[in-house]
């Protein structure tokens, strides 16, 4: 499909076009940047909600319940479910749709499974771009569901406007989970399977940990990326800006507590909008995005459109024999490129 035709179909919110545009973006197929540029002016309608947590926390079931509820409130919803690619075979088994069966046939719902494909650092960017396509495709809410293990998944969760961290009483030692660093990404905390033993204790543990963070620990947290960090739960001076992450209890299997979760997400949204933080976060993200694209394209250009790689190959005998260091070769190549030579 030609990008122009696809853009027209995307604007018309045709499901097959949305699906194919996502594939183009995911695979970096020619034309994907045109598509992303074309939809850029329309972006920002969709609220992006990240749902993350350890395996077995019931994220998909909770997502299904949330989708049901959002649909009942008249909103269209897209879900991006991210699961790991096997590092050995490059294949992946993506099974999250099973849990979302009740909404699978709803024309106001779009579900897409994504494999991490082991792309180093690229996953978060790709996920953001996929969410852009869904935003451009006219969905009111985009839910990004990932397993909260490992840095790249956490980065994915961070692409959302509102990130929900889901924990369960039996998901190992609650405190351990809390210590592992994923607390910082939660705008909302959910203790799922709250009818099981240990739920109240877990809730208390989270609240205590959050209290400590809000009190003193958080003041010493370094900001994330550069001076105008995107993760401004604290303002630049380190003081909280008035959002206290709530700790909610749900039983996803019965739907208990899901309406409260949706309301809390709305409150967080109002908070972000009201304080101007949403605009700030989004601006920061666009700044990061532009940098990432420059990096990606630079890398692409250097290795595929200049002779940089060939130049290294030519000097390898010298490098291997110790006559010249990798650093000297790199400096030479960079200097040449700066001079405008494509070597």
């Amino acid at each position: 499909m030609l990008p122009d035709a696809m853009i027209a179909d995307l604007r018309a919110r045709k499901t097959p076009a949305i699906a194919r545009a996502i594939s183009m973006v995911e695979n970096g197929r020619p034309g994907f940047e045109e598509i992303l540029s074309a939809i850029h002016p329309t972006l920002g309608r969709a609220r992006r909600i990240g749902i993350t947590g350890p395996p077995g926390a019931g994220k998909s079931t909770l997502t299904e319940r949330l989708v049901q509820l959002l649909r009942a409130r008249g909103l269209t919803v897209a879900v991006v479910a991210v699961d790991p690619t096997s590092p050995f075979t490059g294949g992946a088994l993506l099974g999250d749709r099973i849990r979302m069966e009740s909404v699978a046939l709803d024309p106001g719902v779009f579900i897409r499974s994504m494999a991490t494909r082991g792309s180093l650092g690229g996953l978060a960017t790709t996920t953001r771009e996929v969410c852009d396509v869904l935003d451009g495709g006219g969905f009111d809410r985009v839910i990004i569901e990932t397993v909260g293990v490992g840095q790249s998944e956490l980065d994915v969760a961070r692409t959302a406007d509102t990130t929900v961290l889901v924990l369960v009483p039996e998901s190992g030692d609650g405190i351990q989970t809390l210590k592992s660093g994923i607390m910082e990404i939660g705008d909302l905390f959910v203790v799922n399977k709250a009818d099981r033993p240990g739920a109240d204790r877990l809730r208390q543990e989270i609240e205590v940990t959050l209290g400590i963070r809000a009190g003193n620990a958080f003041r010493h947290m370094p900001a994330h990326h550069g001076p105008t960090t995107g993760r401004t739960k604290a303002a630049a001076d380190g003081a909280p800006v008035g959002w206290k992450p709530p700790v909610l209890a749900t039983v996803a299997s019965s739907g208990q507590g899901v309406a409260e979760l949706a309301d809390a997400i709305d409150r967080h949204d109002q908070h972000l909008t009201g304080t101007g933080e949403l605009a700030l976060r989004r601006r920061q993200r666009l700044y990061e995005r532009t940098r990432e694209v420059v990096e990606r394209d630079t890398r692409q250009w250097v290795w595929h459109e200049t002779r940089a790689d060939a130049a290294i190959q030519e000097r390898m005998d010298d490098v291997a024999a110790g006559r010249v260091s990798p650093y000297e070769v790199a400096a030479e190549i960079l200097e040449e490129l700066k001079q405008g030579s494509r070597l």
Partner: protein, 571 residues
């Protein structure tokens, strides 16, 4: 030193014991020598000596492979712990029930097949339902399209059940119904059909499978989430113990777990763990264990590894007896006795050279009888291709009759008792089961391990291992990966047309217009209320059945209270 009086008997005994000890010591030396010699002998390198379950076996077994005291612990047939069978004389008193699973098309079609089988000497009926019925959908539900009457008989209401047993007095047959998710509904249909025949329901004999735990693990005909499903099962235990005391309220099934790929040890342990889980739920309801445990029955798969299968059934009996007596405090010996049905392994049949399946089934049937089964279904040769034809069903039944009347096998109880190999396998399987019970416990018990997909993963791993071995020809399957015929003549298969669906749609429409809709709605509302209030749902379900509420109407009303099960994601 005291001078003992001469004690000829004692001296004789001591002399014999000493002789035995010397003989054993000599044997031990011989075994050592044999082992050393055997280790150096060439063996066929192209095949595995592990059976279908992947268990490596020794080239031969000796008394040293048995644990101390194992011979005394084995006991006798008909005596605790029933290792050697639940009746003192086993098949001399009564042969096993030859029970061929059958059903296809409409109730009328299947009714004819039942009469055909009863006329040829079958001794019990076994109903195979179609997939819509197994899932609780009426024949005219949109999800039933294309599947009505295809793999079993379509039963959507009491009217269908009446037709299924038309001319078959329900106080004179024993009927097994393979039904789980909607087991309570179909049981109510059966009870109401008996009432309409004028039969005293206390005389009803038979079994409903009603084993939801293995559905979540392996067979996957589920409706409700685990806990409400268990609640309805216990409702049936409670109701049946008072009203239909000769009816087996559950058939705790290893069959489907095994067919899904489990090893023999997994089948044994997972099934028994499920059994104990049901017992615990019954006891938690406040039922006396001896009020319902005698009506719990089991169902095993009989696979190709001949001796392992026999050992599995023997081990199962001993574990059940010991646990029921010692852990759950059952006092009635009938609560200790594991009674079971067997079916030959459908998964072992091949679509290639299907006549070979007759031979497979015969060996498996022999294993079931040597294992002491109470009833048996022998698969028909064409079952991997389609529903069996009358011809293939007849051969399958005759296979059992030849075994029962020509081979002499049923004349002696537990004829393999005392075999070093079989006893050692039996003990080995018991040890493996104990290990698996501990693992299940570590997972938080049966229900937790289902919800996390632990069982399902264990089974899938075993299935993959076996598949790999077959693909690598480490496991030879005749006609499939070795001894292949290039030009196979096709066998004749039974084709079930679409007419069953058409007929069912028409009869459902007639039923819906003929019945009293107000009475149906009122009965369904009483059922919903009972479910919502946590009362026993069997009485209002039976009421709704009598009012001609359909299967799906009953399912649906319970679903509004209980919710729907969703499978965990795992591979």
């Amino acid at each position: 030193m005291t001078i003992a009086k001469p004690d000829p008997a004692g001296q004789e005994l001591r002399r014999r014991l000493a002789d035995q000890e010397r003989a054993l010591a000599a044997l031990q030396d011989e075994v050592r020598a044999w082992r050393a010699a055997a280790a150096g002998l060439p063996v066929r390198a192209d095949v595995s000596f592990a059976g279908v379950s992947g268990r490596e076996v020794e080239p031969a077994y000796t008394p040293f492979d048995l644990s101390d005291g194992s011979q005394a612990a084995a006991g006798l047939p008909g005596a605790y712990p029933y290792l050697r069978g639940i009746h003192p004389t086993m098949y001399r008193g009564r042969l096993w029930t030859m029970r061929q699973f059958a059903g296809f098309g409409t109730a009328r079609d299947t009714n004819e097949r039942y009469k055909f089988l009863l006329a040829r000497g079958q001794t019990g009926l076994s109903v195979a339902f179609d997939f819509p019925t197994l899932m609780g959908y009426d024949s005219d539900h949109p999800r039933s399209e294309g599947e009505v009457g295809k793999c079993g008989v379509a039963i959507s209401s009491l009217a269908d059940m009446q037709e299924l047993f038309d001319g078959i007095p329900l106080d004179q047959v024993s009927t097994s119904m393979t039904i789980n998710g909607p087991a309570a509904m179909l049981f109510c249909f059966y009870v109401a059909a008996a009432e309409r025949q004028g039969v005293d329901i206390a005389k009803l004999q038979g079994t409903i499978q009603n084993d939801m735990l293995k559905e979540y693990m392996a067979q996957h005909a589920w409706i409700f989430p685990v806990e409400p499903a268990l609640k309805v099962i216990v409702d049936l235990f409670e109701w049946a113990s008072a009203h239909t005391p000769k009816w087996n309220t559950i058939s705790i099934s290893g069959y489907h777990i095994r067919e899904a790929g489990a090893t023999a040890a997994q089948e044994l342990a997972f099934t028994l763990a499920n059994g104990f889980c049901y017992v615990e739920h019954g006891v938690a309801r406040g039922l006396d264990v001896d009020s319902f445990a005698p009506r719990l029955s089991f169902f095993w798969d009989v696979h190709n590894d001949f001796f392992e299968e026999i050992a599995k059934m023997r081990a199962a009996r001993r574990i059940w007896a010991r646990t029921m007596r010692d852990k759950y405090g059952a006092k009635n010996p009938r609560s200790w006795q594991m009674r079971f049905h067997c079916q030959t392994a459908g998964v072992s049949l091949t679509a290639q050279q299907p006549h070979n399946n007759i031979v497979r089934v015969a060996y498996q049937a022999l294993a079931a009888v040597l294992g002491g089964t109470q009833s048996l279904h022998t698969n028909a040769l064409d079952e991997t291709l389609a529903l069996p034809t009358e011809e293939s069903v007849r051969i399958a039944l005759r296979t059992q009759q030849i075994l029962a009347y020509e081979t002499g096998v049923p004349n002696v109880a537990d004829p393999l008792g005392g075999s070093y190999y079989v006893e050692s396998l039996t003990e080995g399987l018991e040890r493996e089961a104990a290990g698996l019970f501990a693992e299940i416990e570590a997972q938080g018990g049966v229900v937790a391990a289902i919800e996390t997909g632990w069982f399902q993963r264990q089974i899938a791993d075993s299935a993959s291992r076996f598949q790999r071995e077959v693909e690598q020809h480490r496991q030879v399957i005749v006609g499939l990966n070795e001894f292949i015929e290039d030009d196979e003549p096709p066998v004749e298969i039974l084709k079930v047309g679409e007419n069953a669906e058409r007929e069912q749609r028409a009869s459902m429409a007639a039923l819906r217009s003929a019945r009293d809709g107000v009475a149906v709605d009122a009965a369904l509302e009483r059922l919903r209320a009972a479910a919502a209030e946590g009362r026993n749902v069997v009485p209002p379900m039976l009421e709704a059945t009598r009012a001609m509420a359909t299967l799906y109407e009953i399912r649906h009303v319970l679903e509004t209270v209980y919710g729907t099960y969703r499978e965990p994601v795992f591979f």
